[in-house]
């Protein structure tokens, strides 16, 4: 049993999401940085679909039994009361009674806290992810007592996969409505710096920079979206769709972030300067 002493900032249970339900208007959701969620589970010997807690920091947990714990994703300090500080990306066997506190990140934005056996919360529509847009999935509150799943009885292997560089150079390809924008808009997006705004969340990373202007000003009928789609609302400031994006949206999509760069956008803190580079058309 693990007790939530402090829910921290932007904390929620996440797994690989609930794909295949778009016909009900239900989005995929899941870990915003799926690679770090997967890494946490690999290091613990869990199935990659086991639930982790995604948090931007100040999450505090008390172990009511001994457990094997790991923190991946962002880099920062993880304190253990009366014990050694935990290094990120390393599994730690902690005794019953240990309090684990994840401090605000020094690099990156979202940590993934995993436990061997996984957090045992009730899945909703087949997933333990909390979709912040749809308000769907298990909630995480201070005072909650969370069960730990059965030991997976798999070996825990060293994993060198964590030497991942977070990049601020983001590769993009044409979006479906790239021809709704001026040639200048494309040149600006792929040459000028765009700063990550504090207004972003799991739905989308909001960017601030030179406005992207349209040549086509008619209203767009809502159409399907994918993770990484860069939507441009009327103010010209781009929004990169992240895990909890709506199934459909009514603003034109100028470009699409390459799948391997989505984690870098999801981990970009407010104030981070991103640059976009166009992959071959």
């Amino acid at each position: 049993m693990i007790e939530v002493l402090n829910a921290g900032i932007g904390s929620s249970f996440q797994d690989l999401g609930r794909p295949g339900l778009a016909h009900l208007g239900v989005g995929r959701s899941g870990a915003a940085d799926r690679a770090s969620h997967r890494l946490a589970n690999r290091l613990l010997g869990n199935d990659e679909s086991a639930a982790t807690i995604e948090t931007c920091g100040l999450l505090s947990l008390r172990l009511h039994r001994s457990a094997t714990v790991v923190v991946t994703g962002a880099t920062g300090s993880v304190d253990v009361r009366d014990g050694r500080a935990m290094a990120v990306n390393n599994v730690h066997d902690l005794p019953a009674g240990a309090d684990v506190t994840v401090r605000p990140p020094e690099e990156g934005l979202r940590y993934y806290v995993g436990v061997r056996g996984g957090f045992e919360v009730e899945p909703v529509l087949g997933s333990r992810s909390f979709d912040t847009l749809a308000a769907l999935g298990p909630r995480l509150h201070a005072g909650d007592r969370i069960g730990i799943g059965p030991d997976p009885r798999t070996p825990m292997a060293a994993d060198l996969g964590f030497h991942r560089q977070l990049d601020t150079l983001i590769h993009v390809s044409d979006g479906p409505r790239y021809d709704w924008f001026t040639a200048d808009a494309w040149a600006l997006l792929t040459t000028q710096p765009y700063v990550v705004s504090p207004a972003g969340n799991r739905v989308g990373a909001r960017l601030t920079g030179p406005a992207l202007e349209r040549v086509q000003i008619r209203e767009l009928l809502s159409e399907g979206l994918v993770e990484g789609a860069i939507q441009v609302p009327p103010d010209g400031q781009p929004i990169v769709m992240l895990a909890d994006h709506p199934v459909t949206g009514g603003y034109p999509v100028i470009a699409v972030v390459a799948p391997q760069d989505i984690a870098s956008v999801a981990q970009a803190r407010p104030g981070t300067v991103l640059r976009f580079r166009h992959t071959a058309r």
Partner: protein, 198 residues
């Protein structure tokens, strides 16, 4: 039909009419092309996401067929209190009285074309042309759950509180989406809907 780029794992097919969208959606769902993850129909587009897929086989399915899709699923009755904030504006824009708006909106059996935006949000078609208006120029930041609304060729019900630019005609206490039900979405694509004034 035009096929538009959407990154390495998706494509967006654009059509001239919703009827074409619905015929392609039906063909894709009935097909056995391996590797398709999601099929997301909308008003004039179908988004297909995939991992590895036979691109030629997929694109062949995106050509709309000749046969129109018939919507003949079960009829779901949705009770409505017609007390929407925008009745006055809709009356001004259409020249109808409030009574005529209610009579027109509630005398049609609508067809559920597709779901999107948020869980349980169903786009219903069949709105009489006399009630078809563009979206509000300034969307509301929070439309109450259960609001019954119209915009363009569609009518629908807001399942949860959300931002929105549709014209509000009334409200219902029916839950459009509830994960505790066997079928969480009250209305799915292919169903028909009648609004019953109460």
């Amino acid at each position: 039909m035009r096929v538009l780029p959407f990154g390495p794992g998706a494509l967006l097919a654009e059509y001239d009419s919703l009827a074409e969208v619905m015929s392609v959606d039906e063909a894709l769902r009935a097909s056995e092309v391996a590797g398709i993850d999601e099929i997301i129909p909308a008003a004039r587009t179908v988004l297909v996401t995939f991992r590895q897929v036979d691109r030629a086989a997929l694109e062949a399915l995106l050509v709309p067929g000749a046969a129109a899709t018939r919507i003949d699923g079960p009829i779901v009755d949705i009770p409505v209190v017609y007390d929407g904030e925008d009745l006055g504006e809709v009356a001004d824009a259409t020249g109808f009285s409030t009574e005529q708006i209610v009579a027109t909106h509630s005398s049609t059996v609508y067809s559920a074309a597709f779901l999107g935006f948020t869980p349980g949000w169903v786009y219903l078609v069949g709105l009489p042309p006399s009630l078809q208006l563009p979206r509000r120029s300034t969307p509301r930041t929070a439309v109450p759950a259960g609001s019954v609304a119209i915009a363009n060729e569609f009518t629908g019900v807001y399942p949860t509180v959300s931002p929105g630019g549709w014209h509000l005609l009334g409200h219902t206490s029916v839950q459009m989406f509830d994960v505790t039900r066997d079928k969480p979405a009250l209305v799915v694509a292919g169903d028909r809907v009648r609004f019953v004034p109460t």
